[in-house]
Symmetry: C2
Subunit: 459 residues, 2 copies
């Protein structure tokens, strides 16, 4: 037992100096975003009014496979990176599987999740470009807390719209944001036109990421010197998150293994892309011994855009303020059930991931809420880390793979991303323990109806 | 900036193989514990009915300076140790101090604090000795969560008495314990004689660690095959925690520095002893360049046993079940104000620390609640880690030292222990942010009265 190494860490100098931009290597490049009014393809300049210039450029960069991490950002990464790659011996034992399970532990970030990896560069670029105010949406609050801290790091004012159901379910995350000096508003709110509109239509609406995005984008475009930052979905966010997979690749090498399966939970795609893309480049290149790897996105059954959505142009937000993006979607006004994995309650998938799924380079599974909490509890007791309800979806998918390996007796190597811990989500575990949680399902008719009614390219 | 290393980590093989037992090296050994009825000195065997045999032996071991960490425990340590030693550049900058500030980040433990370092060996020894049930007290819940997880690690049943005010203020920690399968009871409870007695006298009593200890000890001594585990105060707990300081010593060496001051918050003394004792051995030995180091315990002003208590024999618990211990105390029935640093609400100090304070090998400061939260907020914004309200006391004392260094222009090297994060204590920060927190003070008369009335060696 004593020769089995548990954790793999990198020296500071081995922290990646470049992010990996998979767009440059994709066999089929993503289609361009479209202007929501004219439907014309957008250039980076068209995005400047909303995002920092650097992020706008990164968003549409389909040529440079490696984009340098600014030294100032890398210095901030050093405070919590590398994050450990951990061999999950406890979980393997609990499952009695011959599989070798590894997880990348992003929960050790001071904010408790991977979100800081993109919050820091987004805030940094804004600061560098003279921006004074930033605004964003947040679901469970992992992203909002990270952006609030990154804003305070660079002396920016931050305004966060938090999905109402999470604002109420997870008051501690609101307090975290306020501790870093951010202004936090429950969404939908009466402070924006988008918020007012939806409250008028549906006074009891509990909010969604799509609505909160509308509010934040509206604030950014109506406030001087204010930019909008997004925590997932977009290409540049997944780009920043590739620091996860690039580290993991080096760490798996230290462990002398290469993953047969890479798994992450899926909300907009940033933690999935972050851990997957660096490994996927070897698959795309057809490298021997590395082309067989499967990439599995684990989404909630109640918000199944990858497994049951449609691929088409859609808005990134509920009100239709954002560019039109080619994505797997449930319709931009899709209102997901109030599951506790607030970070996965989003109607669409990022553009890159959508294209990769279409091209068969990755796959997706859907996880019912109760299965995700069963998995989270098992993992907590086996590994001592209480996972975020979002990350518990990745664990559930990992358990499915590990049990398949048990049946076949295969020593499969599974790597998943533990995107965050659940210490600020204990009220959800409380409900689970008292039997108050349920599964949610949507009928095919309901889904098809919502998708059909909301196609922005149909008159 | 880029050549400034932020964090120092050790390879797995460098995780200590021995704990350091300062008792063997103390110039004046601690006086023995006394039987509460006969007042006769106790041998390890007298402790066997309450604690595991191994912990009882460690408790009174005054001869072996190094005690081997069982291989099985070290294997568990590897899942989260070494913890990082971090250079607090952000805090230094915020204070404008020439001091070099380092902190040992115990908050990255999966339970969020240093407590797991002792929970694992305590549960392990119980398991090894055939014990099936363990019980304990907890204040803020850091210790209870850690022991609950350690119990589940070894298949033991755990029953935790949580101080009522914390049980109500910090429901998330209760959920954490329940997630690991523990039974959690608010203390004082009607489930024990000690609890009933105090509820009868004072129906609205919000509890204290002293009362919760009475309840747990009572349960242990009246339940078959059940042992009691304590999270601080005792010698063997501080012994286990020396893994912190032993790692920190190696890590400070990597940084090329040696601390002029070592600081930790103080409840019973385990995190203080854990980081201090390994460095203090060089002071005791009079080693050149290492004998000048100061050791500062930061206690809350509302529970000032080190700065305003008396040194004498006293009970470790409220009801008087435990052996009499030679300690700095406020009287065993001292009822501390409901500060949010629940882990510091204890009437007495550990035996070793009490002797060291008496002998002038260390010092103590008291921190008002508001100063601790001011410090916690400053640290959160400067370093991105929201500290536990307990740890914020260490930060406040660190800030005092750093500002003194600023006055004198000295490049003083300060090391403090960040014993835990505050993510499960956000309701306290919430209160601070809304201006609802206050300081508490006790008059000399009150203190003297309480101390005089409760001397167990006076008839």
């Amino acid at each position: 037992m004593s020769d089995k190494r548990k954790r793999y860490l990198l020296d500071e100098e081995e922290i990646p100096r470049f992010w990996y931009n998979i767009q440059a290597d994709m066999p089929n490049k993503p289609q361009p975003p479209l202007n929501p009014r004219t439907k014309a393809p957008l250039s980076p300049e068209d995005l400047y009014p909303i995002f920092s210039k650097e992020c706008s450029n990164q968003e549409l960069n389909q040529t440079d496979a490696w984009i340098e991490i600014p030294e100032e950002v890398r210095e901030k990464y050093k405070y919590y990176r590398s994050t450990p790659l951990v061999r999950a011996y406890g979980l393997e034992k609990a499952l009695g599987t011959p599989a070798h399970i590894y997880f990348k532990n992003e929960s050790v970030s001071p904010m408790g999740s991977h979100k800081l990896n993109s919050a820091i560069p987004q805030a940094f670029y804004c600061k560098q470009e003279g921006v004074t105010n930033i605004t964003t949406e947040t679901g469970a609050g992992q992203w909002g807390a990270s952006l609030s801290y990154a804003a305070s790091m660079y002396g920016l004012e931050a305004a966060v719209y938090q999905v109402k159901v999470s604002y109420e379910q997870k008051p501690y995350r609101r307090s975290m944001m306020q501790t870093f000096g951010a202004t936090v508003t429950a969404s939908p709110s009466m402070s924006t036109r988008a918020g007012k509109d939806i409250i008028t239509r549906n006074p009891n609406y509990q909010g969604s990421l799509g609505t909160a995005i509308s509010e934040a984008v509206e604030l950014a475009t109506t406030t001087p010197n204010c930019k909008y930052c997004l925590g997932s979905v977009l290409n540049h966010v997944a780009l920043h998150q590739t620091v996860i997979g690039l580290e993991a690749e080096k760490q798996m090498e230290m462990a002398g293994e290469y993953p047969d399966v890479v798994i992450a939970c899926f909300g907009g795609g940033s933690n999935f892309g972050g851990i997957s893309f660096p490994f996927m480049r070897h698959k795309i290149a057809g490298e021997p011994g590395k082309e067989h790897t499967r990439f599995v996105a684990a989404e909630p059954s109640s918000c199944p855009k990858l497994t049951r959505g449609v691929f088409r142009y859609d808005y990134g937000d509920e009100a239709g303020y954002t560019p039109l993006l080619p994505m797997f979607t449930l319709g931009h006004n899709f209102s997901p059930a109030n599951i506790h994995a607030g970070g996965l309650r989003y109607h669409g998938a990022g553009v890159i991931v959508s294209q990769l799924l279409k091209d068969g380079l990755m796959e997706a599974v859907d996880i019912p809420q109760l299965e995700s909490f069963d998995a989270g509890m098992l993992f907590a007791r086996a590994e001592g880390i209480i996972p975020a309800p979002e990350s518990a979806h990745a664990i559930a998918a990992t358990i499915r793979e590990a049990l398949k390996a048990k049946e076949t007796g295969e020593e499969k190597v599974i790597l998943f991303n533990l995107s965050g811990h659940g210490l600020v989500d204990m009220s959800a575990y409380d409900k689970y323990l008292s039997g108050d949680l349920q599964n949610y399902s949507i009928s095919d008719e309901e889904l098809a109806g919502n998708i059909a009614e909301t196609d922005p390219l149909q008159p």
